[in-house]
Amino acid sequence: MVRVDGNGGSQSLIRVRGLNKTYSRGGEKIQVLQGLNLDVDKGDFVAFMGPSGSGKTTLLNLLGGLDVPSAGSITVAGDEITHMSGSKLTQWRARHVGFIFQMYNLIPVLTAYQNVELPLLLTKLSGSERRKHVETALAVVGLADRMHHYPRQLSGGQEQRVTIARAIVSDPTFLLCDEPTGDLDRKSADEIMALIEELVAKYGKTVLMVTHDPVVAARAHTTLHLEKGVLVEGKASSRQSVLAGGAA
């Protein structure tokens, strides 16, 4: 269940309380997020929508430990990440977060296999164990036969599949997707969304996704809108419900 009223229980996988983010630009303070609350359970698939500059990516960066909030707290699987030091946060990201970016962000000089292997280089797994994990991840995304191709030899959809394989290879606690289909044609976008849905349905992954595309957002269990720095109810699918603004 996804809640934005701040009344979620401590069993939530992701718990956000009173989240604020303020930027200074040219001496002017811009408040992007204002006292934002969010509870996400394991296995939820949440889409964040909102106009440009509404703070979607900022929220995603904060949830992924890539940025630090001005105030408030974020707790993931019992770990409060808002006060972690830089190096501890990096280790936390490696263990808990899988990132899927709009522009894929693959290393162009590495093959699909080597790109997917990157997060595992930070673990103590042996070479053969790493190989097993990478081959499994590439098989899940349907690219077992392209593992030795370089990004330039793959289509946009295939590159995004490699990114997804890289995100899931270390079996993170949740996946953060920033416009995962933003650079793809409709057919490829459908395939990528089907894959993300499969990760949620079949493997129980928790997915938080930012998108501009209502068609893509409709594939999520829950859609939340960011307006003026706070989350408001969007759509609730048949399987999940959104409890917003004290409507518990």
Binding site: S87, Q102, I107, L122
Partner: protein, 382 residues
């Protein structure tokens, strides 16, 4: 090493740039090594000088000759174990370019003062008995393909341009690693009989061996005092000080080498530093992704530094190989102008350390920049 593939893949991303940077390193290392061997060649006399040997020359200068009678007077000073004398013969073999040091030696005492020069006894005895005899250093003999028994004509440039002929009676070796095996020795008695009268009964300089190196200052003072106010006042100094002042005749080699070396160092630092800075700037978003997926700041610094060090290592090794191949040829071409140029193992090691130091230093700033880069800012650069 788990990151090996990532490091090498990044290096080969721009092959032309990699080749040019490695090439810069290699050329700089050739130059660095050449400077090091030239410096070493000039300092060799200083490095191998005996601590228990003093050199006595005329106070006016090396070209002023001293009476041969000084030998006995010097030998009488307490603390002096043995005395011998040398003359500079100053000849060339066959051609002007075939120049090498020829010393007119005192056969009776030479071996007592220079025990490091080894000549087989039978060869030495033949040399002593042969008025026109000569001994050549092993390297010199090898250079001109001489063997014992050869007749060697030497045209002197100091004594009227006459050609003197010598019989090669022996070849000497030295047990010191950088020992000088390029000298040619002839007998003082034969020399004395054939030089103009003004040169007769003289010595170019005296070399004396001390009972103990601790006596050096006292004995030097005693010798110079003994000949004070004579027609040939003396200047006595340790062999290393003499070698150093001899090397200085060629100019301030040390300063010249240091200056050129510094220019090489900073140029290389700027070239490699710039390459690494561009390389990091080109892939800021990739480094941001690495950080996002869990690479720590230190890992990112390590990656950048490793790339820089790998360039330095391969450039360094290539440069040292080139130097190793080229220096014997350069040395042969400069024979007569410079002492033999020898590339030793410590010098190769020093060259590699130099290369790695420059590699590390040039990768440091871009590496720290990459390390401090904020992930969010880096990802925004997509």
């Amino acid at each position: 090493m788990k990151f090996r593939r990532l490091i090498f893949a990044n290096l080969f991303r721009k092959k032309i740039r990699l080749i040019l940077t490695v090439g810069s390193f290699a050329i700089a290392l050739v130059l660095f090594t050449f400077l090091a061997v030239v410096k070493s060649a000039f300092n060799r006399g200083i490095d191998i000088a005996g601590a228990d040997r003093l050199i006595v020359i005329d106070r006016v200068g090396l070209m002023n000759l001293m009476p041969i009678s000084y030998a006995d007077k010097i030998a009488a000073i307490p603390g002096v174990k043995a005395v011998t004398h040398d003359h500079w013969f100053g000849g060339v073999y066959q051609d002007e370019k075939n120049f090498f040091p020829q010393f007119v030696i005192d056969v009776e005492n030479h071996r007592k003062v220079y025990p490091e020069f080894k000549v087989p006894d039978d060869q030495w005895n033949n040399f002593v008995k042969d008025r026109q005899g000569a001994i050549a250093g092993a390297r010199l003999a090898e250079r001109f393909h001489w063997k014992v028994g050869d007749r060697i004509p030497i045209k002197t440039t100091l004594y009227g341009g006459a050609v003197w002929e010598f019989n090669l009676d022996g070849i000497y070796h030295t047990d010191k690693p950088d020992g000088d095996m390029g000298q040619f020795w002839l007998q003082w008695k034969y020399f004395d009989e054939n030089v103009p009268s003004v040169i007769k009964s003289t010595a170019g300089w005296y070399i004396l061996k001390l009972d103990s190196p601790d006596d050096a200052v006292r004995v030097a003072k005693a010798i110079d005092e003994k000949f004070a106010n004579s027609s040939h006042e003396t200047k006595t100094e340790t062999e290393s000080a003499f070698a150093a002042s001899f090397a200085k005749q060629f100019g301030n080699i040390e300063f010249l080498i240091l200056t050129i070396g510094s220019v090489v160092f900073f140029t290389l630092l700027l070239v490699t530093g710039n390459t690494m800075a561009i390389s990091v700037r080109e892939r800021i978003s990739e480094l941001g992704v690495l950080k996002a997926i869990g690479f720590t700041d230190r890992s990112v610094l390590f990656l950048v530094l490793s790339e820089s060090l790998v360039i330095a290592f391969f450039g360094g090794v290539l440069g040292l190989l080139l130097a190793w191949a080229a220096i014997p040829g350069i040395s042969a071409a400069l024979t007569g102008l410079l002492p033999p140029l020898l590339l030793s193992k410590p010098m190769l090691l020093l060259g590699l350390v130099f290369a790695l130091f420059v590699g590390g230093a040039s990768g440091l700033l871009p590496g720290i920049g990459a390390m401090r880069m904020r992930v969010v800012s880096a990802l925004r650069r997509v």
